[in-house]
Amino acid sequence: MRALLLGLAAMASAAHAQGGGREQALVRMVRQDCGSCHGMQLTGGLGPPLTREALADKPLDSLVATIYQGRPGTPMPGWRGMLSEAEAVWIAEQLVNGFPQERRAAR
């Protein structure tokens, strides 16, 4: 698993290198769409909080698996239809480090 993760992390870095457009889209997706259950500030709702503090003792690979495959028996869906696995890794990494705020255009 660890080797797989390292591979995925490398892919995530590749995704990172592709530029900020997709990352911005992922940030928006987490804030807005994940936010419908976890809260836009990720402080929790029907889903648990996803703040840095709340995730402090969670291993990265279990976060990635939860994002990508979902958690059976709970409302958490697998997001594999929406994300690549590398993107799930990227999101998990951002979450444990404190998820970035969405960049919003001035109105």
Partner: protein, 404 residues
């Protein structure tokens, strides 16, 4: 026409857009307008999700009147209205409960009543406002005038263990009903004596109730179940109400799709004698006969339904969807049970609200930063309002409707 007259006319024409612009001025600049006597029946509010503001709108002129700030995290906000339809109570995700005067456009009172909140209700007589909370799990009852705490009812299902509360609805007789997501239960609370709330409980109603609706007559409470195929029904006119399962096994044992967004049941999806309900994890709307509570049909739709809402006359049912199909809205004709129209009003449709008598529907498109006003007969777009990341749309006509 001579030149002078013409210039005069042009002058008037030039003045018209200036008057229209008034609608976009900040609240302070409109104090004079706000102070003049006016009704509230064609007012409404739209949640600006990201900015934590409330957009005040007029549903007759289809204009944005003002924006009211300082309401906290509104990422899953909902609103109920006072009986005089002059006050909006705004329940924020962060547990903030705000009382907003729609005429003065000011926040008159605000309390932080929980850590994580999911909405609220107002009592039959308008004297009590109740919030339903995830953290701490339970409901809190407030005086509608002052927002002073009247009762705190934790959803304690085992010593020290609280359940998240969903599906709170008002019932006749100063009563409320709600579901416990973590405890597979439905509780009712009677607040006719506000100093002595009386709680009655129904256990084992089905796995993971996620939201609920009350029929327009206040008789039937229906909780959607996430943890199983089916819904829980309570007939509140029974001497001793019980919960029974309806539509058991509607998924026919097939693997449900991943649910990227929970359906919402608030919004009467009762049209005539039928209830129209979202199927969980399926691209279907279920049709149920409210006399027998048997399924009488199902309509295939473009995605997983989130809101299934009947136009006030019940002739149409409008449906929006979870992502990835949330750029679509579909209209079902309730007589033929056919999808008669598919609309694309803008990406990330989060909510719909009918005008009081249903000639138009307002649809919020979060990612398009737009609310579209659409004619429900011809489906043409009557107006578009620029509103930042709009989510819930709430019109004051809710003030007079049970369950809203």
């Amino acid at each position: 026409m001579n030149r002078l007259d013409r210039r005069h006319l042009l002058g008037w024409a030039g003045a018209a857009p200036a008057a229209a612009l008034l609608g976009t001025l900040p609240a302070a600049a409109q104090a004079a307008t706000a102070a003049s006597p006016t009704g509230t029946g064609d007012l409404g509010v739209v949640i600006e999700r990201a900015r934590g503001t409330l957009a005040l709108v007029n549903t007759s002129s289809r204009t944005l009147l003002a924006e009211i700030e300082g309401l906290g995290d509104l990422s899953h906000a909902s609103v109920v209205f006072s009986r005089d339809a002059g006050t909006a109570y705004v329940f924020g995700r962060d547990g903030g409960l705000s009382k907003v005067n729609l005429l003065s456009r000011r926040v008159e009172a605000r309390v932080m009543q929980a850590g994580n909140s999911i909405g609220g209700s107002i009592s039959q007589d308008g004297s009590l406002v109740v919030a339903q909370n995830y953290t701490p799990g339970g409901i809190k009852v407030f005086d509608a005038k002052t927002l002073e705490l009247v009762a705190d009812i934790p959803a304690e299902v085992a010593p020290g263990k609280l359940s998240r509360v969903v599906g709170l609805r008002d019932l006749p007789g100063q009563r409320f009903i709600f579901s416990l997501f973590d405890a597979d239960a439905i509780w009712m609370v009677d607040l006719s004596d506000r100093s002595k709330p009386r709680v009655s409980k129904l256990e084992g109603i089905g796995r993971q109730p996620y939201d609920a609706l009350i029929t327009p007559d206040g008789r039937h409470y229906i909780a959607g179940l996430f943890g199983e195929d089916g819904l829980a029904l309570v007939d509140l006119w029974d001497e001793v109400p019980t919960a029974r399962r309806i539509l058991g096994g509607y998924g026919r044992g097939e693997q449900a799709l991943p649910v990227y967004k929970m359906p919402h049941l608030k919004g009467w999806a009762v049209a005539g004698r039928h209830a129209w309900l979202p199927a969980i994890g399926r691209h279907e709307v279920l049709v149920v006969d409210t006399a027998t509570w048997q399924e009488v049909g199902r309509v295939a739709v473009a995605g997983q339904p989130v809101f299934v809402m009947a136009r006030p006359d019940g002739r149409q049912v409008w449906v929006n969807f979870a992502l990835p199909d949330y750029h679509l809205v579909q209209v079902i004709d309730t007589v033929s049970r056919q999808v008669i129209k598919t609309l694309e009003p803008g990406k990330a449709v989060l909510h719909m609200e009918f005008t009081p008598r249903g000639e138009a529907v307002w649809i919020s498109s979060r990612d398009a930063n737009r609310v579209s006003v659409i004619d429900t007969q011809g489906f043409e777009t009557l107006a578009r309002l620029d509103i930042d990341a709009p989510s819930g749309v709430f019109f004051t006509s809710r003030a007079a409707r049970l369950g809203f």
